[in-house]
Amino acid sequence: MSESKNNAAAHYKGSLKIVGSILIIWAFISFGCAIIFRTWMDANMPKIGNAPFGFWMAQQGAIIGFVILLLVYTYLMNKLDHKYGYGEED
C-alpha cells in the first residue's frame, strides 16, 4: 500500500513536471513569439520563406508547434506511466 502510494505521488510529481514544461513552451510560441515579442521577432529573426518570423509564427508556426507539443506530451506521459507501473495496453 505504502509503496503504491509513493508511486502515485512520484508519478503525479513527474506528470506536473512534464505538463509544466509543455505549457511553458506553449505560452512562448503563441503569446511570446506571435504576440508580445512579435515586432522584435519580425525585425531580428530570420524570415520563414517570405514571411516575417513573428507573423509566420502567428499564422502557421504556433499551430505546427502545438501539434508537436501534444505528440511529445503523449510520448513522455506514456513513458512515465510505464516507469511507475501504470502503463496500459491499447
Binding site: A8, H11, Y12, S15, V19, I22, L23, W26, S30, F31, A34, I35, I36, D42, I48, G49, N50, A51, P52, F55, W56, A58, Q59, Q60, A62, I63, I64, F66, V67, L69, L70, L71, Y73, T74, M77, N78, D81, Y86, G87, E88, D90
Partner: protein, 589 residues
Amino acid sequence: MSQDIWNFIFIGITFTIYIGIALWAKAGSTKEYYTAGGDVSAFANGMATAADWMSAATFISMAGIVAASGYDASRFLMGWTGGFVLLTTLMVPYLRKFGKATVPDFIGDRFYSKTARVVAVICALFICMTYIMGQMRGVGIVFSRLFSIEISTGVIIGGSIVFFYAGLGGMKGITYTQVAQYCVMVFAYTIPVVFISLALTGNVIPQMGLIGDFTKGGGEAVPLLQKMNDLSVELGVTKYTDGSLSTIDMFCITAALMAGTAGLPHVIVRFFTVKSVKAVRKSACWTLSFIAIIYLTAPALGLFARTNLVDEINNKTYQEAPSWFKNWENQSMIAWVDKNNDGIIQYGQGTAFVGKPIMDGEKRGEQGQRLVSNEISDDVNEVYYDRDIIVLANPEMAGLPPWLIALVMAGCVAAALSTAAGLLLVLSTSISHDLMKKIIKPDMSDKQEMAYARIASFVALVIASYFGINPPSSFVAKTVAFAFGLAASSFFPTLLMGIFSKRINREGAIVGMISGISFTFAYIFYFQFIADHKDYLFGISPEGIGFVGMIINFIVTFVISYFTPPPPQEVQDMIESIRIPSGAGKASH
C-alpha cells in the same frame, strides 16, 4: 448539369449517409446515448472531435476574417488550436479517469454539492445555447443560398436533420456521423485551395504558397506577402502582416479563446467515449492534427482570396470584373457604389456604405451594377464584400467545376450540423441526467432517462431554431466568440482547480463560477446593447473579456476556499485517484 442539380445531389448524398448512420447506430441504453458505449477508437474519436469542434463559423468565416484582417486574425487561428494543448494536458485525462459521463457530474461530485451541480448545469445550458443559436443561423443561411428558400425554412430543415440523428442516436449516432462529416469538410476545404495556390504561386501546397512567390501571369516573381503589403500601402489600408489590434486586446482574446476551448463541455465529453486515459491522449493528438489540416490552410486561403480580390477588381471597369463578382452581387453579398462616377471600381480604405447592403430592388446603374439604398460613406472604398463569401466563392474564383462548388456547400452544412449535434447532446444530457436524474427524480429508470434526454433535445432545438430565425440584433454573429468567453470564465478555472488543488472547496467553486460568468456576461451585454466601445475596460473588447472573467473566478474561488473548511476526506481521496492514469474502466453515469 446546372449548379443547382449538383448541389441537390451532393447535399442529398451526404444527408442520406448521415441518416443511414443514425439508423445503424441507434442508441439502446443511456450508456450508448451518453458515451457511445465507451469503446470508440482513438482515431475515429479524433476525427469526430475535429468535426464537432469546427463549426460553421470556422468553416465559412475564418478564411474571410483572415483575408480581411491579416495578422489580427491570428487570434482565432492560435486561440482555437492552442486551447487543445490546455485541454489535453490539464483536463481530459483527469476527467476521463473520474469516469462519469458529463461535466456537471464531475463538478457535482468534486464539490460534493447539489448547488454546485445546478450552477454547472446552468452554465452548460447557457454556453451551449449561445453557441447553438449561431450554428442554426449558419445552417439557415447556407440552405437559403443553396436552394433559394427563406432562412427560416432552412433553419427548420437543418434542425429536423440534427434532431433525427442526435436525438435518436445520442453520442453513438453523433460520433459516426461526425466522422463522415469531417471527411466531407476536409475535402471541401482543401481541394479548391490547392488549385488556387497553383494558379497564383505555382505551388501545390497552399501552406508553402503563403510564404512563396506570386507568379501568376508569367511576370517577374514577387514575394506574395510583399505584393500584398505593397498593394495595401497603395490602397491606404493596414499592411497585411501588421495588426491594428492593441497587444493587450490581442493577448486577452487569444487567451480567452484558448481557455474557452479547454472549458467547452461539448468538446470535453467527446473524450469520455474512448477506452482509457492512454487512448484519450492519443485521441487528442489525432484531433489536433485533423484540426490543424484545416487551420493551416485557412491563412493561405485568406491571403490568396485577398490577392485575387484586389488584383481582379481594383481599377477595373465593371464590364471587366470577373463573373463571380457579378454572381455574388446578384446574391447581395457583393456591392459596388460608383462614388466618383468614373465607371471604374476602386477598392481602398474604409467602407463603401453604412451597414450591410440593402439592394434597391432590381434597379441597375449606368454600368449595369445593382444599386443600393444604403447611406453612402465618405471613404474612398467603393466595394462591399461579405467576408463569408471567401470560402463559398473561392472555387468559383479559381474557375473550378460546379461539382466542386457543390462539395464546398455540403462541407458548410456538415460543419454546422456536426457542431449543432454535439452541443445538442450536452444540452439534453445536462437536463436529463444532471437535472432530472441527479436532482429532481433520482428513482428514474434508464428508459425514462433516455426519454427525457430526447424530449430535452427537441425542446432545446425548438428554442435554438427560434433564435436562429429571429436573431437578437447582431448578437448571433458574435455568439461563438462569446460562448468561449463564458466557458473560459466559468468551467475552465473551476475544473482546473478541482483537479489540481485538494484545498478548493464547494463554497469557493460555487461563488467563483457565478462571479466569473456573471461578470463576463454583464460586460458583453453592456457593450453589445448599451454602451459605446470607447469605454472598454483597459481597452479589452467583449471578445477578450472572458480572460478577465477567468482571473476573477480564480481569485474569488481561491480566497473563499481558504476562509471556509477544506473538502471532506473522501473527496480528497477521489482527487488523488484521478491523478493516477490506469484502471479507468468505462465511463459510467
